[in-house]
């Protein structure tokens, strides 16, 4: 009895096995077919990729096809995907989603849904290749009208540099974000920010009310420091629409050289007896430009080229009685001979002296400050308060 039961089960299992074995060779397909229109900027849909998935399962279980002759359809602008090939094959009345994915060229499409029917195949609604924002122009310049396309930095300060971008969004998508990078051409846009060579603005202003429908004006502002390297600079802007399709564009401009120095303090020798050499006074010179500088020096009492270093309430002090040392400090009281030997005469006419004060490279502190050392000899016949002028000029030093 038990043997008979087992034999019956065996026959049934064998029958079932053969049935399944035979049916496994029978293919089953349900094609989803659709058309993808070319982008409005005339980029062809062919060779872009359509992805199909069941949204109730998720995008991880998906199928793809290449649009056009190189895909399953073999026809321009068409795709065909057998949704039975999903890991979880499609069933009648299920919703299937489709879209063109961004393959790196920033063309994609919106998502469409289709319900699987019992027909031989299903025809999806048309997809349209969505184009990235079309940047019609990029202009980078400072806030000065003249000269055009040149950046003139501001001594010891920042210059407002603006990248103006004009965009025509053909699909009328709203712009999601705009960012800009202003960088020295010798560097890469991907380098880190550095006031000498690289600035980033991740939140440029988008004015969508500019122009007609789909048109926008975008302004990327950069506060460019006085010590930014001179030379060719690029403004690279990246814009993405609400489909996260991105477009980049650049414009080049020139940052001009800026020769500028500054003196933070006045030179006050205090009270000096006649026939004495003063104590050493110091003047700190700061490079407020973007080139290495030497100094030109001259001086006068009351008016230029009057031959005096100072004009006093009573009498005057000759120009060559005021002397400087641009490198070394000499401490202590000096005799007239030591004074003459260690310091250089100031002159009526400007004289260029090697100073080699480089421009700033440290974003945190300005370390490009050199000290100059000064003493004055007071002759007889001079009394009261004395005033004079030392004229510092910046001369471009030859880069070494």
């Amino acid at each position: 009895m038990i043997l008979k039961k087992m034999q019956g089960k065996f026959f049934f299992a064998a029958f079932l096995f053969v049935l399944l074995f035979q049916l496994s060779f029978v293919s089953s397909a349900h094609y989803v077919i659709g058309r993808v229109n070319n982008a409005l900027d005339l980029t062809l849909a062919n060779d872009h990729t359509v992805v199909l998935w069941n949204p109730s399962i998720g995008l991880t279980d998906n199928l793809t096809d290449i649009i056009g002759p190189n895909g399953n359809s073999g026809q321009d602008n068409l795709y065909m995907i057998d949704c039975e090939l999903l890991n979880n094959p499609c069933n009648i009345d299920e919703t299937i989603s489709l879209k063109v994915i961004n393959g790196g060229d920033n063309y994609a499409s919106l998502v469409i849904n289709i319900t699987v029917t019992g027909a031989g195949f299903d025809l999806a609604d048309n997809l349209t290749l969505n184009s990235p924002p079309n940047i019609t122009s990029v202009l980078v310049d400072d806030d000065l009208l003249i000269p055009e396309n040149e950046i003139d930095l501001l001594a010891g300060n920042v210059r407002d540099v603006l990248c103006k971008i004009y965009v025509d969004e053909l699909d009328y998508d709203s712009l999601q974000s705009a960012s800009g990078i202003f960088y020295l051409s010798d560097y890469s846009f991907s380098d880190p920010d550095d006031n000498n060579s690289h600035y980033t603005n991740n939140s440029c202003y988008i004015n969508e009310s500019y122009g007609g429908e789909g048109e926008s004006e975008i302004t990327c502002g950069f506060f460019v420091e006085y010590y930014s390297d001179p030379g060719a600079w690029q403004c690279l802007v990246s814009i993405s629409d609400n489909m996260s399709l991105m477009k980049n564009s650049t414009d080049e401009t020139n940052v001009n050289e800026l020769l500028a120095i500054g003196l933070e303090n006045r030179l006050d020798f205090g009270k000096i007896d006649a026939l004495k050499v003063s104590d050493e006074g110091i003047l700190n010179v700061t490079n407020y430009g973007n080139v290495k500088v030497n100094l030109s020096l001259s001086g006068y009492g009351l008016v230029e080229e009057d031959g005096y270093a100072m004009s006093c309430e009573m009498g005057t002090i000759e120009i060559n009685s005021l002397k400087y040392n641009l490198t070394d400090s000499i401490l202590g009281d000096l005799t007239l001979g030591q004074f003459e030997g260690n310091y250089t005469n100031l002159t009526n006419n400007s004289v260029v002296k090697e100073f080699n004060l480089d421009y700033r490279t440290n974003d945190e502190i300005n370390d490009r400050i050199n000290t100059t050392y000064w003493r004055i000899y007071v002759p007889t016949g001079v009394a009261g308060t004395c005033n004079g002028t030392i004229v510092f000029g910046a001369i471009k030093a030859v880069a070494t």
Binding site: F15, Y31, L78, G120, F121
Partner: protein
């Protein structure tokens, strides 16, 4: 007893194969509306596009090969891989209507 048992098993296997084959081949050249699983024998190879031209009631013809499936759909003038219909390959044919399959030879014979 044991020989009888083995013979019965063999008989069941053979009958099962014939039963399954009969699902496909009982109506070898007849298509029903919907899915049909058909393999042909004794036909001259022809492109699937030509088969569909002769049988406009066919919506889709497809077959599997390994893990791939190849299909041809009767829409937009015919899209998909224009494969060759051959003997002994099993095809899924989806038809819009009940119809008899027509092959080029049928036309020639009728013309003759």
């Amino acid at each position: 007893m044991r020989i009888f048992f083995v013979l019965i098993c063999f008989l069941i296997l053979v009958l099962s194969i014939f039963f399954v084959k009969s699902i496909d081949n009982d109506s070898e050249n007849l298509l029903v509306k919907g899915k049909n699983y058909i393999s042909f024998s004794g036909i001259d190879p022809l492109y699937v596009s030509d088969l569909i031209k002769l049988n406009p009631g066919i919506e889709v013809v497809s077959y599997g090969e390994g893990e791939d499936t190849f299909g041809y759909v009767n829409v937009f003038g015919g899209i998909g891989k224009n494969f060759i219909i051959r003997d002994l390959q099993e095809y899924e044919i989806i038809s819009k209507e009940d119809t008899a399959l027509i092959f080029p030879n049928d036309i020639k014979e009728n013309a003759g």
